[in-house]
């Protein structure tokens, strides 16, 4: 399992503290994707917006993280992954009672695949790559406005 260094994020947080109120709140994100290129790009985008990020290389790793007691404010889930794909992983997590916001992120899916992905328990679906801050900032607003805290043990970083 890979652990993402958050020193960059905290550096940016210090810089951003006096600016946008959104970036004052630190959210945690889990990026699930088998492609290291995508993991790197998505981590950077999220870090730059103030997220602390962690990565998982497959659906199974993501599920294992939750089994081990990890929790996140939001999960970005790729669809096509070996071992356990995004649809299966999402179903598993929902089956475990995980209420975290799950955003499906994938490329080139057919209508039916997207539908199946959403039905598995996604909150939202975006096409890859997710580098548009305009898509992510509303998600952060939602997280801020959440009245019910996430189910699960306190996260350890």
């Amino acid at each position: 399992m890979e652990f993402e260094e958050d020193s960059t994020a905290s550096k940016r947080m210090k810089i951003a503290e006096n600016e946008d109120p959104i970036t004052k709140v630190q959210f945690s994100a889990l990026i699930v994707d088998d492609d290291p290129l995508i993991r790197k790009i998505h981590s950077e985008v999220l870090n730059s917006l103030g997220f602390q990020t962690r990565v998982a290389k497959s659906g199974k790793e993501a599920v294992d993280l939750y089994h081990a007691g990890a929790n996140f404010d939001i999960v970005f889930m790729d669809m096509q992954m070996p071992v356990m794909n995004g649809i299966e992983a999402t179903k598993e997590l929902r089956g475990m009672g995980v209420s975290t916001k799950i955003v499906g992120v994938s490329s080139e899916c057919s209508e039916s695949e997207i539908e199946a992905f959403i039905l598995a328990g996604l909150d939202l679906y975006y096409a890859k790559p997710l580098t548009d801050a305009n898509k992510i900032i509303p998600l952060m607003e939602d997280l801020k406005n959440k009245s019910v805290p996430n189910e699960g043990p306190k996260k350890t970083m």
């Binding site: 790009i41 950077e44 890859k128 790559p129 580098t131």
Partner: protein, 152 residues
């Protein structure tokens, strides 16, 4: 014009040409925007990962196409992956070559696939050279004490 301004001018012109000629698209500029002082090598790192990906996938495609009975689904899945990667970094010519490639995979046309493989190989080699040149320019600017201009 002093050295730094000259280099910066060169950098701007070269970057603009890459966009104009369709080597990179807006996705690449999104990546450039993510780079800053706390993360100065982001673009170089992402691009390196991409070219490693390319090399590996092209090899896999070549091997798959050499088989007696070509597994076109297998070839297609490699092309799909490369299309995804190239799209993520903004390598639009490579991406377009992949799009064409997939049609030949679907048609199970080996000759067509081989032609596309050649095309993909060429596009990624050319892009690699172009981006290496771009990074060299960046290094020269930084070494001279200047800052890298943002090209919109």
């Amino acid at each position: 014009m002093d050295v730094i301004s000259q280099l910066q001018r060169q950098f701007i012109d070269y970057t603009s040409s890459l966009y104009r000629e369709g080597y990179v698209d807006d996705q690449f500029s999104q990546l450039q925007k993510l780079q800053d002082e706390s993360n100065p090598d982001f673009v170089v790192e992402v691009v390196s990962l991409f070219f490693d990906d390319c090399q590996k996938l092209v090899q896999n495609m070549a091997q798959a196409l050499e088989q007696q009975n070509v597994d076109f689904k297998q070839v297609d899945s490699h092309v799909h992956q490369l299309k995804g990667s190239s799209s993520s970094v903004g390598a639009s010519r490579v991406k377009n070559a992949c799009i064409a490639f997939r049609t030949f995979c679907e048609a199970q046309n080996r000759e067509g696939c081989l032609r596309c493989l050649q095309q993909v190989n060429q596009e990624y080699s050319v892009l690699k050279n172009k981006l290496q040149q771009l990074f060299r320019l960046e290094q020269q600017i930084t070494a001279a004490g200047g800052s890298i201009p943002m090209v919109e």
